[in-house]
């Protein structure tokens, strides 16, 4: 196995991390600790998931794949909920949104026969779906929270005119969804021209036919667009209620100004 040798040479790229740390020190960005933590965490996490995936490949059990993906969803929800810690029920909302997004998109790909029901496809694609949905969920959640506070006078004015909470918050929801979806839409537009997406790069380096890599990349992009939209919309519709009472009042503790 040439695994060790590969890891050894991969460690040489730490030199590039040193450049980032040097920049942080030189410009007093105060990020060296964060960079250090990120490097160590990414190494440990990737190594661990490598062994886990290897193990699951060995099991050849679809149940184990589902369990791993469920674990990923819960971890994503936990990460996202921590970002928006002061939003009530954030964990449940994100877990539900990301879970539904993953099941819907992967399920569709399986049902249409676009990908086979094997760990080799489901784990990496599931990881991408869950990761991207989590980012969209975090963006949507924090944006709604910030806007309900900042635009409290407008929200309150709408309520005072007989609007329901949903109606009062709808301009905020709209902006939050746009903000969450635009990065991916832009990435999809420019893909292949400005950058080659990770999955495709990996396949080409691993020796796959570039056209086969393109086929899979197209599937990935459309899948991500679908799943990110589902996650953002679900987070939006589920989370705004946390800021209001059933009598269409802004909840106590949602501070203004």
């Amino acid at each position: 196995m040439e695994g060790l040798q590969t890891v050894g040479s991969a460690l040489l790229t730490l030199g590039l991390v040193a450049v980032a740390i040097a920049l942080s020190l030189y410009e007093r960005l105060d990020l060296e600790r964060e960079i250090g933590v990120a490097v160590v965490r990414s190494f440990v996490q990737l190594a661990a998931i490598g062994y886990v995936i290897n193990f699951i490949f060995g099991l050849e059990s679809i149940g184990a794949v589902a369990l791993l993906l469920a674990g990923m969803v819960l971890f994503a929800a936990w990460t996202s909920a921590r970002r928006a810690g002061d939003v009530p029920r954030a964990f449940v909302v994100v877990a539900l949104a990301v879970g539904v997004a993953a099941v819907a998109t992967l399920g569709l790909l399986l049902a249409l026969g676009v990908i086979p029901a094997t760990a080799r496809y489901l784990i990496p694609l599931g990881g991408m779906v869950i990761g991207n949905s989590m980012n969209a969920a975090s963006l949507t959640l924090t944006r709604i929270r910030d806007d309900v506070r900042e635009q409290r006078p407008k929200v309150e004015a709408a309520l005072a005119l007989g609007a329901t909470s949903r109606q009062a918050v709808s301009p905020i929801l709209k902006t939050a969804l746009q903000r969450a979806l635009i990065p991916l839409i832009d990435a999809t537009k420019t893909t292949g021209i400005i950058f080659l997406p990770g999955a495709m790069v990996g396949m080409i380096i691993a020796g796959a036919d570039p056209l086969e890599a393109v086929r899979l990349q197209i599937v990935v992009l459309y899948m991500l667009l679908g799943s990110v939209s589902i996650a953002a919309i679900l987070v939006g519709t589920l989370s705004y209620r946390s800021f209001f009472t059933p009598s269409h009042q802004i909840r106590k503790g949602v501070s203004g100004e």
Binding site: K154, A157, A158, G162
Partner: protein
């Protein structure tokens, strides 16, 4: 006195252990302009928001025409009792859209031009973007927006505090004029006693979340004017 339009009884409201309203009583006679005055932090704005249930009181009752507001649908209540805030907070691409917001979501029709005239603005303004208007004009648009629902009463939460002297006087005149022309019952929150003298028929004095007393305007200044002045200036 006939049955009051709005009656507030032993109203309490707290947030996280702090009592903002600690037992408020107040009467708002039908067709009058009732001022709620007091120092900042007395609970004036919260009292106003408890009347149209933008906040839910922890105990006590508000009656509208003798009916407990707690048993009314909050959306229907807010259509019956309009509100104008410190900041106009208009939304929509045009003045017309801003004015018709409440009427549109209620599925009612209203005439933006006529409402603009009612608040002393030129009907030709209806196509303009709200943010191109002066703050004083925007505040009058926000009055028109509340009137579009033909409310039975109007709550005004320090509607002139963001305005300069000239615009402030125009809003005061508008309040008197709407009261005279439409017979509209109004509740006007203010911490400016000279404004109270110009606008109100009746005064409710609030301090530290409690009602200190209620007077007709003429009696208020002789009976409690000095006390109110000291409370508002922060000297007890």
């Amino acid at each position: 006195m006939d049955r009051p339009k709005i009656e507030v009884r032993r109203l309490r409201y707290g947030v996280g252990g702090t009592e903002i309203l600690a037992g408020v009583d107040a009467l708002v006679p039908d067709g009058d302009v009732t001022a709620i005055v007091g120092p900042s932090g007395a609970g004036k704005s919260t009292l106003l928001r408890a009347i149209n249930r933008l906040v839910e009181p922890s105990s006590g009752e508000v009656y509208l025409d003798g009916e407990a507001t707690g048993s009314l649908d909050p959306l229907e209540l807010r259509r019956r009792v309009g509100m104008v805030f410190q900041i106009p907070a208009l939304f929509g691409a045009s003045v017309e859209e801003a004015i018709l917001y409440g009427a549109r979501i209620a599925g009612r029709s209203a005439h933006a031009g006529r409402l603009l005239e009612l608040v002393g603005l030129d009907p030709s303004m209806s196509g303009r973007a709200p943010e191109t208007l002066s703050v004083g004009q925007q505040q009058r648009v926000s009055v028109a927006r509340a009137l579009a629902l033909e409310p039975e009463a109007l709550l005004l939460d320090e509607p002139t505090s963001a305005l300069d002297e000239a615009a402030r006087r125009k809003i005061e005149d508008l309040v008197r004029e709407l009261n005279a022309r439409l017979g509209l019952t109004m509740v006007f929150v203010s911490h400016d006693l000279s404004q109270v003298g110009r606008v109100a028929d009746r005064v409710v004095l609030l301090a530290e979340g409690k009602s200190v007393g209620e007077w007709e305007r003429e009696d208020f200044f002789s009976a409690a004017g000095e006390r109110a002045r000291r409370l508002i200036a922060g000297r007890h």
